[in-house]
């Protein structure tokens, strides 16, 4: 499993013990002593997940979550909460946190959540990459090819496209082949899926 576990907790013992535990299962943790420190060091290239203490002096866990969202951060966040923090945790979940776990927790419980978060993040990343690729391919189309693609994904026959665009059917066929090639689509169905992704 790739990615780093970013542990953000103000309590030295909790933070260090988490780090210690994660290392024994060959995860790659790094630690931050406050929300502010994490926000300061945060950059878009980070991958993995965040273990975020909900109750911290200075910027609270919830505030860190909000600021990360403003930065368009896609790292899944697992909140670590105490006994009375459940309402806060619910709020965090509603704001899109991946999960929360109550202190003190069983190690396996935490590890399961971390692995799930990493998996989810990887899947997200893949999808985001895929979307970016398609975007790149689409940009490389000529204006006429884009026009043709629009007709094609609506299911229009070549003959109809030819009449609508005022070109020969043969020309449409050539454009169509170029679109399939540039978009790296192996079938019409795949091209339709791609056009749906582009619309998102």
């Amino acid at each position: 499993m790739k990615g780093t576990i970013y542990i953000v907790d103000d309590d030295d013992a909790v933070r260090d013990s988490l780090c210690f535990l994660l290392k024994t299962v060959n995860l790659d943790p790094t630690t931050f002593t406050s929300g502010d420190e994490f926000l300061e060091k945060y950059d878009e290239e980070m991958t993995g997940c965040v273990l975020l203490d909900i109750r911290m002096p200075g910027t609270s866990g919830i505030e860190v979550q909000k600021k990360l969202q403003q930065l368009n951060c896609k790292l899944p966040i697992i909140f670590i909460t105490g006994h009375g923090d459940v309402p806060m945790a619910v709020e965090a979940m509603q704001s899109g946190a991946f999960d929360f776990i109550q202190k003190p927790f069983r190690d396996q419980e935490l590890l399961d959540r971390i692995f799930q978060a990493l998996e989810a993040h990887e899947a997200d990343e893949e999808e985001a990459n895929h979307q970016r690729d398609i975007q790149h391919r689409y940009v490389s189309l000529t204006p006429r090819e884009k026009e043709v693609m629009e007709f094609v994904v609506k299911g229009a026959a070549n003959k109809v496209i030819a009449i609508d665009l005022g070109v020969s059917q043969r020309t449409v066929e050539i454009h169509r082949a170029r679109v399939m090639e540039k978009m790296e689509a192996r079938s019409l169905a795949e091209l339709v899926r791609m056009s749906m992704l582009l619309e998102q």
Binding site: D16, S17, L21, G82, K103
Partner: protein, 379 residues
């Protein structure tokens, strides 16, 4: 020609007007003669008491009286006519009134006296106080609850802070020990790492006990407000809220506090808190028991010279051996919504007052909690 037959006659018009005025009144309007027999009964009265004017006219006014006034009105009238002493006439007072269906309600009555043609009559205005009383009870309840929450919240906050403080070292211990187990499960365990973790576990255990020591110091430090008071006074403070709580759950609250107990020197709020807590627990324990058993008894007695016990006795589902062992432990609870701090704090308060809090099972059913406190020498 009699006056009643002449529509232009002054007195007839007045009489008609009086009738419609009477019926327009919001309050019940009742006229009785000197013997207490009803002569007039307006619309509002019909609605309030459930009798029609026709059926009640000529009946004794006592029919409408509930509580301890019923059966005594003849005597009241007698008394007044003999002594001329007014108990209610021109003064008004609150009474219990009775409807036709036998149900009773609080009412405010104002009585006036008229004499005409050598005949004495009494005019009564009756106002139903049910809604007013309900509103008062409601606001009283809210006030008490607010008071109670503010008291509880200090303890609640303390408990929450303590929970948070304890959670930190416990989490660290859980993490280090879990990691150690994983390390030792490996083929070639890294003993040095395990040793390091054990050292940390040791440190964190000491940190946790430090938290507990500090909390104890804190409860001791807050025990400075002591005042001389009586068990009766404390119980009187607790009674309204405890009654609301009990009655809301169909539980009878019996209070039996002898008047001659020696004074005690305590933090009244804290002792009230303990009693409320014990009473609440009692109520909770009886929520699901047969209605016949739903009774809480709050009593006090000397258990030794210079020592008084306030006992809260319920007839609830009782406490199992297993639960009894942990009953006073912090964070132990059998309730779905509880911190498990109630009895732990209660006992701490008792001990801070050089007293004790013990429980025993009743021979028949339920349990009793006894808060024992030293009394002051009466001087």
């Amino acid at each position: 020609m009699t006056s009643a037959e002449n529509p232009t006659d002054k007195s007839t018009i007045r009489f008609d007007q009086l009738d419609s005025l009477m019926n327009a009144m919001v309050d019940a309007f009742i006229v009785i003669d000197a013997r207490g027999l009803i002569e007039r009964f307006n619309n509002a009265a019909e609605e309030m008491f459930g009798y029609s004017s026709d059926e009640i006219t000529g009946q004794n006014i006592e029919l409408l009286m509930g509580g301890r006034d019923s059966g005594n009105h003849d005597r009241y009238l007698d008394n007044y006519q003999k002594t001329g002493k007014k108990k209610v006439i021109g003064i008004g007072r609150e009474v219990i009134a009775r409807r036709k269906d036998g149900s009773e309600f609080p009412a405010d009555i104002a009585v006036g006296e008229v004499s005409s043609g050598g005949q004495k009559r009494f005019i009564g205005l009756v106002r139903d106080l049910t809604d007013l009383r309900a509103a008062q009870t409601q606001s009283f309840r809210q006030r008490q609850e607010m008071l109670n929450t503010s008291r509880l919240s200090t303890m609640g906050e303390m408990a929450a802070a303590m929970a948070h403080e304890l959670n930190q070292p416990l989490s660290a211990i859980a993490n280090y020990s879990a990691a150690s187990l994983r390390l030792l499960d490996k083929e070639d365990p890294d003993i040095e790492s395990v040793k390091e973790a054990l050292q940390q576990i040791n440190n964190q255990a000491h940190r946790a006990s430090e938290v507990i020591r500090r909390t104890r110091d804190f409860t001791r430090a807050t025990d400075t407000r002591r005042e001389k008071t009586s068990v009766q006074d404390i119980v009187a403070e607790v009674k309204p809220l405890a009654e609301l709580d009990a009655h809301a759950n169909n539980i009878a609250l019996l209070i039996d506090i002898p008047a001659n107990l020696a004074p005690i020197e305590v933090d009244s709020l804290q002792i009230q808190q303990v009693l409320l807590n014990l009473l609440r627990n009692g109520v909770d324990a009886m929520r699901d028991v047969d209605p016949a058993y739903r009774e809480i008894r709050l009593s006090a007695r000397y258990t030794a010279p210079g020592e008084v016990s306030i006992v809260v006795r319920d007839q609830g589902q009782g406490i199992s051996e297993e639960v009894a062992e942990q009953l006073f432990n912090p964070f132990f609870t059998t309730k779905n919504t509880g911190m498990g701090m109630g009895l732990a704090i209660c006992r701490t308060i008792a001990e801070a007052h050089n007293g004790s809090l013990e429980f025993r099972r009743n021979p028949e059913r339920g349990v009793s909690f006894a808060l024992t406190l030293p009394t002051q020498a009466t001087s």
